[in-house]
Amino acid sequence: MSVAIPPRLRRLMVRVGPFLGLIAVIVLFALPGETRGYFLTFHNFKIIFIQTVIVAIGALGMTLIIISGGIDISVGSTVALASVVGALLIQRGWSTPAVVLATIAAGGLVGLANGAAIAGLRMTPFIITLGTLGVARGAAKWLGDNQTVNYDSSPINGWMTTANPFAYTLPAGVWVALGLAVLTAWMLRCTVLGRHIFALGSNEATARLCGIPTVRLKVLVYVLGGCFTGLAGLFQLARLRQGDPTVAVGLELDIIAAVIIGGASLSGGVGGVLGSMIGALIMSVLRNGSQQMGWPTYFQEIIIGLVIIAAVFIDRLRQGRKA
């Protein structure tokens, strides 16, 4: 491929590419007769937003991790673990704020373990988090005694509710995801921590040379990522109204795909929150639309797999061929 894309055009592509993708999938599902009447309604988009919350919050953490040059494939298991922890604590009568903090902390602890092993022992993130993927899933099943953890009721259940579908309001989960997205975007762009994360992912040796405490920073990135995952677990709990140790298998793939579709590079140093959020929306719109078209689930899986491959291919185009 000797076609050289001028840098300015390439940057424009990075910026608007995900938007165009989102518009394309929306148009794709708005046109056919089966979905035309319903797809573009507020009600349907409310459902899409609610369906996006878990992937979106997970993608916030993953955005930090991928920009820093790492990867975390233990997210699905950690979500399950956090949701089981949350359900057990509700069972024991903990107050809602305590449950929220404990679920986030559960995710943060898994992140701490990941970060400590990756930064401290200098091991490959993929391998370490592949290990925690098993450990966290096992721990969730152990805590839940290999079955779902049920509880009577909790205010948490209302945070992802699709009851009252025609009211023009959005449940708390959507607002939380939105608020955190703004906060994370600001953090990445305008704080020392954010700029240091970019530096770490762009060139770790330079970061070290410039006096950035790279080990500490890396651990912090995984802890933050873990906290986001824990919170995603809380919303998983709110959605199912029970703690399920077998839930969210393969969720990390949706999340990583969302981040990559959003313009982040798996080699680190590149990425952004806005892109990742649009990436997460693209994934939900695809799921939602395929369901309405009445396509079987295996067909959805194939489509989403192809979208991931396309996203990585576009990432390669964007980076150009480096000699």
């Binding site: 840098p7 305008c190 704080t191 020392v192 970019f198 530096a199 330079t206 410039c210 006096g211 950035i212």
Partner: protein
């Protein structure tokens, strides 16, 4: 034998080549000289088939030569040795030489034939005794280069292009490379030799061609050419003094290194660096010069001894603390360590002091950009602006940015590792002047260089390292190139 006439090439709006002509006869070594950005690399990419010209004619042995791909060029008889070596480091020497051209039958490697062919290629270079079974990664850089040349020779090329082949070699290894080139010439192979080092070109080349701004501005016999004339052609102006003299007088000691050791290389090095002093470290590659700088800066572990910045109590520190003490380090490797290529100029300049650009952990990008804009102006950095990614800039410009990071901090003690490696003469002179001015304003500079005229022209004091030890430290006036080499190669160790 090879003729290029009026070669033109544009990338978007920039015209990289505006009409380059060049001639090469059989068994001749042609030095291709020019500043960075003069179009040498583009020209070589066209010759080696990596890209197509927009216009002009190329002829090889009287027939039109229009390679559409590197494979085309190779089978046509033009092979290229790139500045960055391209070896599979986990494979053996033999496997590397034969990579892509294995002797095989139905997919089975023919071992004895492979061995013979690899051996023959190495013998042609005068390195017939090299161990074929050794891992390429375990070979020295010089040996790796021999392997790379041997691989190119396998295709029996008529023209061999070498891009900055000595940039990572020591003087002794460079000498060996020159004899390899002369050997190839006597076997009828033509060589296009690209280098920034004029004296090297004088050593090996028969003729020269100078490029400037995408055009051929001069060519002729190397024997008759004076360096001053070549420099004038390259830069378009007379370079009177490569090493501008600035008034500076060493004052009080600011950095004390006592018996610093760091595994695996550095052994008991001691030196004292004074404010307003330019202290040069000479030595062969692997002698421990870079290790000494890295150990001083806290990037490598200080196993024994002390490194004290005068005025601060700690005698071993992390890079973070060293920056706070006013020490700045510039890496010899811009791409791998020195810079973050996909991030902006402003980010690269300010990374070591990010927290000072805002309050409560925030960073004001406007203030970052303002700081960057100042250095862009002061140092004459050629770029589109503070937000341009540094990967898009030329080597010399990148080097200025790496140096500006230390200036911005501001550092009092500058540790500079090969500050002029791989950059054009014009920028070199600017960097020399800058170093001189730093010393003039009382800053201390510790500079590592493999280029002896540079050290002799620039420094007040020169220390020579050999096998991990700082073998001799003397004022510049007591050193000659030969004297430095004698100590560096271990021929004479005196204290």
């Amino acid at each position: 034998m090879l003729r290029l006439d009026g070669i033109r090439k544009s990338f978007g709006a920039t015209q990289a080549l505006k009409g380059v002509s060049l001639e090469l006869s059989r068994g001749e070594v042609l030095a291709l000289i020019g500043e960075n950005g003069a179009g040498k690399s583009t020209l070589m990419r066209i010759l080696s088939g990596a890209c197509l010209p927009d216009g002009g004619a190329m002829e090889l042995d009287g027939r039109p030569f229009e390679p559409g791909s590197p494979e085309d060029a190779r089978s046509g008889g033009v092979a290229m040795i790139y500045q960055e070596l391209n070896l599979a480091l986990h494979l053996t020497v033999q496997e590397n030489i034969l990579l892509g051209a294995e002797s095989a039958r139905f997919g089975w490697i023919d071992r004895s034939a492979s061995r013979a062919r690899a051996r023959e290629a190495l013998a042609q270079l005068g390195h017939g005794a090299m161990d074929l079974g050794r891992q390429a990664g375990a070979c020295s850089v010089a040996e790796q280069q021999v392997v790379e040349i041997a691989r190119a020779l396998l295709g029996r090329p008529k023209v061999l292009i070498m891009d900055e082949p000595t940039s990572s070699l020591t003087q002794a290894d460079a000498e060996r490379l020159f004899s390899v080139i002369l050997r190839l010439r006597s076997q009828g192979v033509s060589v296009i030799y690209i280098s920034h080092f004029l004296e090297e070109c004088t050593r090996v080349a028969d003729r020269f061609t100078v490029l400037k701004d995408g055009e051929t501005v001069g060519s002729g016999g190397m024997r008759e050419a004076r360096p001053g004339h070549l420099l004038a052609l390259m830069t378009g102006r007379e370079v009177k003094d490569l090493f501008p003299k600035t008034e500076h007088r060493p004052g009080r000691a600011v950095l004390e290194v006592r018996d610093a050791s760091s595994a695996p290389r550095l052994r008991r090095a001691s030196l004292s660096l004074r404010g307003g002093e330019i202290f040069g470290l000479a030595g062969l590659i692997g002698a421990g010069r870079t290790d000494l700088l890295r150990t001083i800066f806290g990037l490598d572990r200080l196993d024994a001894g002390e490194v004290c910045v005068v005025g601060s109590p700690a005698c071993r520190s992390t890079p973070r603390e060293r920056w706070r003490q006013g020490v700045g380090f510039m890496s010899e490797d811009r791409k791998e360590e020195g810079l973050m290529l996909n991030l902006s100029l402003a980010d690269n300049l300010t990374l070591a002091k990010m927290p000072s650009f805002g309050r409560f952990g925030s960073v004001s990008s406007a203030r970052q950009a303002a700081a960057a804009a100042r250095w862009i102006q002061v140092l004459g950095i050629k770029c589109r602006g503070a937000s341009q990614p540094v990967g898009e800039l030329s080597g010399g410009t990148q080097q200025k940015i790496a140096l500006a990071r230390l200036l911005e901090h501001p550092a009092r003690i500058f540790l500079l590792d090969e500050p002029t490696r791989g950059i054009d003469v014009g920028t070199k002179v600017e960097i020399y002047r800058l170093i001189g001015e730093l010393a003039g304003s009382g800053k201390a500079v510790l500079v590592v260089s493999s280029y002896l005229p540079e050290l002799l022209g620039l420094c007040d004091t020169i220390g020579v390292m050999s096998r991990g030890e700082l073998a001799a430290v003397r004022p510049r006036s007591e050193w000659t190139e030969a004297g430095i080499l004698r100590v560096a190669t271990g021929a004479a160790i005196s204290r």
